[in-house]
Symmetry: C2
Subunit: 406 residues, 2 copies
């Protein structure tokens, strides 16, 4: 007998009919002889509806009260799902995060799980019940309600799987699994049978929205096998697992893209030691996360420093860059929101040379200009024109022959 | 400095604008130098909307899961109200029932408060904050979420006032206070400055919907002064307090009516000792609450037994009466849903004779037939035709000259 944790997001529980579908999936897993814990998010647009109410009431809502408000969404879903299972003659019991002892730190709206008390869940699983737990929420040691931030229900599911030593954590979504590229762009994109935690982390940070990176980190740290699979079709999905030797033969697992970044350039900065540290120290203090950085040393002893930030942060970053430019005696500041990033990801890169060159060749063949380059141990990313994204993803997918093999 | 508990029902917090109004009322009380605890219900039709979802999912929902679901409504309101007070530069903090240690018994959907831990509330009040508490909910000793049933938020408010030894519990409603009669029927009805707990209990059980009887009982047991007042007009309302000597001079405080009952009659029951005990023993076992009972002994040694029940219970009561009639060898069963009850209430009746006679005279003058009569120490009730209610209430109000003087 295995212990399976299942997680269903907001669109999978958006109405009564879909909640009944989730009840069927949980009971089917139980009928296969497994113990089942289900983690759910708030129904459909519940969270958006609550935040719209907040907008009517407060321009700067207190994070503690936001958590008090938003945590009600998941609590509604767990109760309705328990009723749906009862109604289908199954056994189930619902628990809020605080009730199953999901203890977090005090960071409202982005709390981190500190510990989980599994006693209550184990007792109910042994009584043959489907244990339903509200995702996204926890409680501090001082009985304050917290939420885990974006992708919080994924994190709850993987953390519960780790704490309960579950055999698998199934993340149900509206796609069948993780693909070699976005199937909306590359029609011959192939679903991966498996992918490593590290590759999944790169994909998550690259803007692929299948799994939130915090949940993948949790899975990696506690070695929880995660399956990304469809809520609507009963077929195996993609397993996210730790690296195995045979995986190293696969040089590139997939091609990702991200349209969510913008570029800021500070032009004509006098060339002195410590300039970069000064610039990015101030950007970091302003809580603006920088992705890629390029510094060109010009012939006249002046530098151009360019960096990319989330489009959401562009306005703040620009205002700050203007101040920094003035302080440093730089010539001017430019910004560009029409960029995008394409990336190839694969653990095999660690032992295979020439991946970057293959990628650059694919882009060159298609007359796509590369504006910035960044690499990690298992990733190569290029900033290009946003209008070139679809062609670039297709070209790279073709060049690495991703439609075949595995 | 006084400590005031304020309670606002669902219609007083139905949207963002009304929540802002509640924030103003709480802050105004604080500006008068008082400590303020606010108890709120779920916004407007939230509870109905959640129950409609339940209907889609389950025909026989588990009470525990209903409590899990419904308790979210109040939790949403407390968070939004705290934000509204913050937004108006006030200090406030919200708490769920479980968070402020409202411990109840295990009776889901109709739990009774067992104890309240005031420590957290006192600490926040001392810090100058408006303490906002979710009404209607509590937690068992085993961390199970419970709700208190109909009128639960009133009960929470009065119970908190008792536990905190508050100087007053203000129940804000959509009426200005308690009247000598329904102002929609008697246009010269007068708002009472004060009324006793016992009178209020009689009015609550007579169908007046201003305060739920459980909260009045709580107020009486712990001697909490309760004020019924308007959410929309800043004027003093009606104080519900314990009896004082001068109140005994007031023979009748008000006239109430209830259209919610129906009459069942078992005709021609053989006259034997123990018949009534038998009939009402069986009715009680079926969980049907009986209000008035009349037994006429006929000339032929047969009795007619009539009793009134809530219209909601009429069908069940009729079916049971048919069985009882058969078992006892009675002749037939009749029912009548076109009845209503009019009552006069007043603690002064205890020391004044002739109240019943005055009431009967008022009805007789207006050709209104009395079908059943019931009296308590501080109440006289008559069952009449439902179509006569408005004329009866007006006639009794006139006869007792309630429009004048306190």
């Amino acid at each position: 007998m295995s212990l399976i944790v299942q997680k269903f997001g907001g669109s999978s529980v958006a109405d009564a009919e879909r909640i009944r579908n989730v009840a069927r999936l949980a009971m089917a897993e139980q009928e296969r002889g497994n113990s089942v814990v289900v983690v759910v998010s708030a129904m459909g647009k519940t969270t958006d509806r609550l935040l719209a109410l907040v907008d009517e009431i407060s321009a700067h809502p207190d994070s503690r009260e936001i958590d008090m408000l938003l945590s009600t969404g998941e609590q509604q879903t767990i109760a309705l799902l328990a009723m749906a299972i009862h109604s289908a003659n199954g056994k189930a019991i619902s628990f809020t995060g605080p009730q199953v002892g999901i203890t977090t730190d005090n960071s409202h709206r982005k709390a981190k799980i500190v510990s989980i008390n599994t006693e209550k869940m184990v007792r109910e699983l042994e009584a043959g019940k489907v244990v339903i737990v509200a995702g996204f929420q926890g409680m501090t040691g001082d009985n304050e309600i917290t939420t885990l931030g974006r992708g919080g229900s994924d994190t709850t599911a993987v953390a519960l799987a780790a704490a309960l030593k579950a055999d698998r954590c199934d993340i149900y979504t509206d796609v069948k699994g993780v693909y070699t590229a976005d199937p909306r762009i590359v029609k011959e994109a192939r679903m991966l049978k498996s992918i490593t935690y590290d590759e999944m982390l790169e994909l998550a940070s690259l803007g692929s929205k299948v799994l939130h990176s915090r949940s993948v980190e949790f899975g990696k740290n506690y070695n929880v096998p995660i399956q990304v699979r469809s809520s609507f079709e009963d077929v195996p999905g993609t397993m996210v697992i730790k690296e195995t030797e045979e995986m190293e033969d696969i040089v590139v697992s997939g091609v990702a893209y991200n349209r969510g970044e913008a570029k800021v350039s500070i032009m004509g900065v006098p060339d002195k030691p410590g300039i970069a540290a000064d610039v990015f120290g101030r950007v970091g203090e302003a809580n603006i996360v920088v992705d890629m950085i390029i510094q060109n040393v010009g012939a006249d002893g002046r530098n151009d420093i360019s960096f990319t930030v989330s489009k959401d942060d562009l306005q703040d970053a620009l205002e700050l860059a203007e101040k920094i430019a003035k302080d440093l005696g730089a010539e001017k500041v430019r910004s560009d929101a029409e960029i995008a990033k394409v990336s190839v990801v694969g653990v095999g890169m660690k032992s295979h040379a020439g991946v970057a060159a293959t990628m650059f060749r694919a882009l060159a063949k298609n007359n796509i200009n590369i504006e910035m380059i960044s690499t990690s141990e298992i990733k190569v990313s290029c900033v290009i024109r946003e209008s070139d994204v679809d062609r670039a993803v297709q070209a790279i997918h073709d060049e690495f022959e991703l439609r075949e093999g595995l």
